[in-house]
Amino acid sequence: MNSLKRRRLSRMWRTNVVFFATTMGIGLLLPAFGLAETEDKEILNVSYDVSREFYKDYNAAFVKYWREKTGQRVVVKQSHGGSSAQARAVLGGLEADVVTMNQESDIAVLSEKGKLVREDWRLRFPHRSVPSTSTIVFLVRKGNPKHIRDWDDLAKPGIAIVMPNPKTSGNGRYSFLAAWGQVLKRGGTDREARDFIRRFVQNVPVFDTGGRGATTTFAQREIGDALLTFENEVSLIQKELGADRFDVVYPSVSVLTETPVAVVDAVVDKRGTRTIAEAYLEYLYSDEGQELAAKHHYRPSLARIADKYAARFPASTLWSVDDLLGGWKQAINTHFADGGTFDQVYDEIARQRK
């Protein structure tokens, strides 16, 4: 009996060893299937969601420019996703040579938490590393049947606003801050801003998790009277979903939305791609890069190019998160962190209902 038991135990042990070895073997083999570098020079641009049309054109232009300048072939790989999700991926080890985000905090975190980007990243490229900007505008149904002209109209009873969820989307955060900041910008107090926001969010029937989901809700599901979105999104929406279905309304004041860029120092030093990565981002500020930005309805940072396309970008009073709200870090803590103003307003609404 005892020897039988021992034999069974040893057999069990043996089979375990075999399986362990097999599985480890598979585990070791798998990495071999991983990213193999096929081209000599390849860089990865990790970017936010709605920039893909711009970078498609821009990458082609840069590859051509770089080939003519240096004779070197370069391949630019693209990765797109929600801005913060992308930042988390880079933090987790996605080897991005450059990051191009739509919110300052998504690069700051790479520097603070991950030490992947040098602290002075904002000073390394012109215009505080923001090659182009945009703003939040209203998209309304053709003919503007609800007469939405400015922010106050959005907070009136009976109006339905579609915007993405500020907790999950950069677009949503900019829209929320735009609504908050316009009160301050026009001389209001924090209290008044909160009052406004409460009436404002009560008019939001759906919070999609991303900007383009919100657009679909507004355009395809035909929900809401106004969609809050980036100015650079409007032309694409009209092109893809019907030019004659919507009008654009520019509010009197709105937020300046910035799309900062940075070289990921830890990665380019490891991969030896610093020269190309820096050139790639510098080229954004060239005439060609700025023209392409304008073509895709981003506001160019270079005055020369901005003036050329002034007719395309109606002047309105734009304020930046840095100037009015003390920077992104503070804005996030005040408004979007757990228990921030966004949560507080919903708690108040829930209490009122009771």
């Binding site: 599985t23 975190v109 919070f207 999609d208 998790t209 757990d338 949560d343 919903y346």
Partner: protein
């Protein structure tokens, strides 16, 4: 002899299969999952408690677990019916319908969510007719239920089907020769054989629904305190780089579903055990 952990059996392969299974489960499931618990343990108990008992979190548990449970019940009832119809009856298009049942898994969840939203929104194929009746599906908790029912649909059908196929008709015949009518036969002979499979299917549909994110967020509307599911709250934590807060909510979901699944499994084991001792 001392207390036996395993009853003796003439069949071989216990060490091999159990050893491999445990090893595999550890490697693929338990070790990665321990990461979730270790991350959560970086919170103090007070922080943890505050994170998981916020009113929004509580509201989201109610919606997530409630809708998952109702969805599992709907699938339990109708899934068994579908399995029965597919196995026992012949009708035109049967094998085609049979092949389609797995598709809720194959469709990427986002696509399922988008399609369901398109159908059930107020200008959609079905929503258009439901709205005059005062039924709003898209962008309400009802929409969450629809999505969760959709993604759990294959489970019960596919667990019940093979058991029904393998069921000997002799027992049914015996019951009838003994004078039982059809309903008595189904209740006393067929259903007891099916219960374990039905329970398994429902437990899986429930568990799957609890964790579901992709399809729900499109149709839920995601209104704070009203139509927010727990996985969405996890996402919002991640957006703030609050990994520990996210895993804390994940731990709560996991523990609750684990306990519920265990209860279902014990119930099933207890009922089959009782039957055998009769």
């Amino acid at each position: 002899m001392s207390f036996a952990l395993k009853q003796p059996s003439v069949l071989p392969g216990f060490g091999l299969t159990l050893g491999f299974s445990l090893f595999y489960l550890s490697l693929i499931v338990l070790i990665p999952l321990s990461g979730m618990f270790i991350k959560t343990s970086t919170l103090t108990w007070a922080q943890f408690w505050e994170t998981v008992t916020q009113p929004r979190a509580i509201a989201s548990y109610q919606l997530t677990f409630g809708a998952s449970l109702i969805g599992a019940l709907i699938n339990g009832l109708f899934g068994s019916l579908v399995a029965w119809v597919l196995v026992r009856y012949r009708f035109p298009g049967r094998s085609f319908v049979d092949a389609l049942v797995d598709l809720p898994f194959a469709l990427p969840t986002a696509v399922a969510g988008i399609a369901l939203t398109a159908i059930y929104s107020s200008n959609g194929w079905l929503g258009r007719h439901l709205e005059p009746l005062g039924i709003k599906v898209a962008f309400t908790p009802l929409g969450v239920l629809v999505a969760l029912t959709f993604i759990g649909l294959p489970f019960v059908v596919r667990t019940v089907q093979p058991v029904l196929q393998a069921l000997d008709k002799e027992a049914e015949e015996a019951a009838i020769t003994l004078g039982a009518n059809r309903w008595q036969t189904v209740r006393a002979v067929i259903l007891p054989e099916l219960w374990p499979a039905i329970f398994t299917g429902m437990a899986m549909a429930f568990a799957r629904a609890v964790g579901e994110y992709g399809s729900v967020i499109f149709i839920a509307g995601n209104m704070p305190l009203k139509s927010e599911i727990t996985p969405l709250l996890i996402m919002t934590k991640l957006e703030q780089y609050d990994y520990a807060g996210a895993t804390a909510l994940g731990v709560v979901m996991l523990v609750v579903s684990f306990v519920l699944s265990l209860l279902i499994n014990l119930l099933q084991w207890w009922s089959s055990d009782r039957r055998e001792t009769h």
